[in-house]
């Protein structure tokens, strides 16, 4: 589904991702772990098409197409979803209305008819239950004044509504208490199936107790320095990143 070959890139001329290669197939969960500043989030932003982040080398192929050549909205419509580390607050944009617009954009892209607000409301109610989100958040402004936990739940709600083929979750677990973490992980697991793929970026092993990865990759200084199974995450938890960290000198 996703083939990353020797990807390099960063922002404002700084190369942060320094040659990443990774294959992600349907039905696979990949965890990317690593210390702060190792390039995990930069990779996710390059994959989602953030305008400040630029790929300076390598290729990314998604379902046979050049992902780097697509606009961010095209990537989203083709089924790539980025769960933001820091979901953006947008006062004045109604949460439910935004979700409906997003859902309709997807339907139109697929050549289907847009859904009317009442029918969408039913879908939304159903999805909100799966992430244990109070219905009052429908009428709130997008992420505006949400707690950290509610913002992350809202990301997972968006994912549940849009049902992407490839979801990249950037530190979805950071700042969550254990109950919120379980809820978010349950929401993610419920969505996962053999046709979908998931890249989970995390700093802590704790999330991987609830979302079981098939592969764990350790990032250091913009490169994958170690790849293993879920036992690698346990090793990292126990022995830390230092053993894998590449010295800059």
């Amino acid at each position: 589904m996703l083939e990353i070959k020797d990807l390099r890139g960063g922002f404002e001329g700084n190369e942060i991702v320094k040659g990443i290669s990774l294959n992600v197939n349907p039905g696979e969960i990949h965890a990317i772990m690593g210390p702060n500043g190792s390039g995990k989030s930069t990779l996710s932003k390059i994959l989602a098409g953030h305008p400040i982040y630029e790929a300076t080398g390598g290729t990314v192929t998604y379902k046979g197409k050049d992902l780097l050549d697509m606009d961010p909205e095209e990537r989203a419509l083709e089924g790539v979803f980025l769960g933001f580390q820091y979901p953006v607050e947008i006062p004045g944009v109604n949460n439910a209305e935004f979700l409906r617009m997003s859902y309709n954009a997807l339907l139109v892209h697929k050549g289907e008819e847009e859904i009317d607000p009442l029918d969408f409301d039913e879908i939304l109610d159903e999805k909100m239950k799966t992430v244990d989100m109070d219905s009052k958040y429908k009428d709130r402004f997008l992420n505006d004044g949400f707690s950290g936990g509610e913002k992350k739940k809202n990301e997972i709600l968006q994912m549940a509504v849009l049902e992407p083929s490839l979801a990249i979750l950037d530190e979805t677990d950071s700042g969550l208490d254990i109950d919120a973490l379980k809820t978010v992980a349950n929401g993610v697991n419920r969505l996962f199936n053999k046709d979908r793929a998931l890249i989970v970026i995390t700093h802590y092993q704790r999330l991987l107790d609830y979302i079981k990865p098939h592969f764990v990759h350790v990032f250091s200084d913009g490169k994958i320095v170690k790849t293993g199974g879920k036992e690698l995450a346990l090793d990292l938890e126990k022995n830390g990143y230092d053993q894998y960290v590449v010295s800059e000198n």
Binding site: R75, I90, P91, G92, V93, M101, A105
Partner: protein, 440 residues
């Protein structure tokens, strides 16, 4: 520039003084206003016509109105023309001023609830409190256009809400300008609203125009009694080529509350001057303002909030969206007097520039003479937030839909604070439609 009254090159001062002489000679005024007219013109002479260096008009080009002081000719208007400017909440409670003159024939008062007296013209000055307030405030008036309004006052309205009266539905004051082809006509509407102690009043002021060009130079006074509340919407829906200057003087007494909103639909030149006096402890002033401007439209706000007593609250939030070559400015100062301890004041100005040629100027100020207060002021001028734009695009929304959504959302957070549903809806539809028209 053509003029009906001024000789070419004549200074605006001379033109206004000459017009005033004729105004008095022709007995265009009620004798009850005559002392006020005198105070107004002498204050005008003291202040002089402001140029671009005048502190109060830094962002406003007053040259545009130097020959806009002739009295409007009689405007023909019928009820159907009026009805399209009336909000649905006010179909049975609206007062119409056409070119500054109250029009009983066009107004409907059957829905006015409770003990609310409407006093027309010079009779308003029979109320000693009103006379004392109006004359003393005119005597110390610092806005030359408000002094011109007083100098030429010939009509107006007093809305007297008796103590403990609770108005469940609002009264709309409709300020209509007839206008004409020449940019010379000027009307000077005046409305004073007195809210008695413990009363709750709701007022909607709407400006509208019939034809092309005019200069509406209004003064509004609000005296809010002890423990009383006033909910106000001030909506400028004038013709695009109109010039609208308004002076709003607001006096808040002990434990009184004011909740106001302002929306500007955009004209050639709009200026709102607000002077607020929190006179006694516990008074609360809240004000939100929004404008969406395009082409060469201009809206300028000038606000002075005087905290004269302890434990008062003031909060102002301005949002302006400027596109094309349009201009907005907000010059707001909160003055906390020495005795006004425990003042709580917030002022926030957010401007969104959608084009490189648009201008948004902001001047938030604080003058604090007390030592135990909590005051904030903030100011942002920016373009569309790239992170917000990316967030929406990352959910599959196109660039143009995302931008429209973001500009709408910027305005929407103020629009939703408007207390009256039909006004809120109309402001939302009009301003948001303007943003759609700007869509790529």
């Amino acid at each position: 520039m053509s003029s009906l009254t001024a000789e070419k090159g004549q200074a605006p001062e001379a033109e206004i003084l000459e017009s005033h002489k004729k105004f008095i000679e022709n007995k265009e005024t009620s004798c009850k206003f005559s002392s006020l007219n005198e105070i107004g013109i002498s204050q005008f002479e003291k202040l002089g016509f402001p140029g671009s260096k005048h502190e109060m008009f830094t962002f406003v080009n007053t040259k545009e109105i130097t020959s806009s002081f002739s009295t409007p000719s009689n405007t023909e208007i019928d009820k159907d023309q009026v009805s399209k400017f009336v909000y649905s909440e006010c179909e049975k409670s609206f007062l119409v001023l056409v070119d500054g003159k109250y029009r009983e024939d066009l107004s409907v008062l059957s829905g006015v609830e409770g003990d609310v007296k409407i006093v027309v013209g010079g009779d308003a000055m029979d109320d000693p409190e009103v006379r004392e307030y109006v004359e003393s405030s005119t005597n110390s008036e610092n806005d030359v256009f408000a002094s011109i309004n007083s100098a030429f006052r010939h009509d107006g309205l007093l809305i007297d809400v008796a103590p403990k009266t609770i108005m469940n539905s609002p009264i709309q004051i409709l300020i209509i300008s007839g206008g004409g082809d020449e940019k010379t006509e000027s009307s000077r509407p005046w409305v004073l609203t007195k809210v008695g102690a413990l009363a709750e009043a709701k007022i909607i002021v709407r400006y509208a125009g019939l034809n092309g060009n005019y200069f509406v130079n209004s003064v509004q006074d609000y005296l809010v009694g002890d423990g009383a509340g006033l909910e106000l919407a001030h909506i400028e829906t004038d013709n695009k080529s109109a010039r609208n200057f308004s002076k709003t003087r607001l006096v808040l007494n002990r434990d009184s509350r004011f909740n106001g909103s302002n929306a500007s639909y955009g004209t050639e030149l709009t200026r709102c001057h607000m002077e607020v006096r929190l006179k006694s402890p516990g008074a609360e002033f809240r004000f939100n303002s929004v404008s969406v401007l395009e082409k060469t439209e201009q809206v300028h706000h000038y606000a002075r909030i005087y905290h004269e007593a302890p434990q008062c609250v003031s909060a102002m939030h301005f949002k302006n969206i400027v596109n094309d070559q349009s201009r907005s400015s907000v010059d707001g100062t909160v003055i906390v007097e020495k005795d006004a301890q425990l003042t709580n004041s917030d002022q926030l100005i957010n401007s969104l520039a959608l084009s490189d040629n648009a201008h948004a100027n902001s001047k938030p100020n604080l003058i604090i003479n007390a030592d135990d207060v909590k005051c904030t002021h903030g100011n942002t001028v920016g373009q569309i937030d790239e992170e917000q734009l990316f967030y929406l695009k990352a959910r599959g929304l196109s660039e143009s839909i995302s931008k429209t959504l973001l500009t709408k959302s910027f305005a929407a957070s103020i629009v939703e604070t408007i207390a009256f549903p039909s006004v809120r809806k109309d402001v939302g539809n009009t301003l948001l439609k303007k943003l759609e028209a700007n869509d790529d």
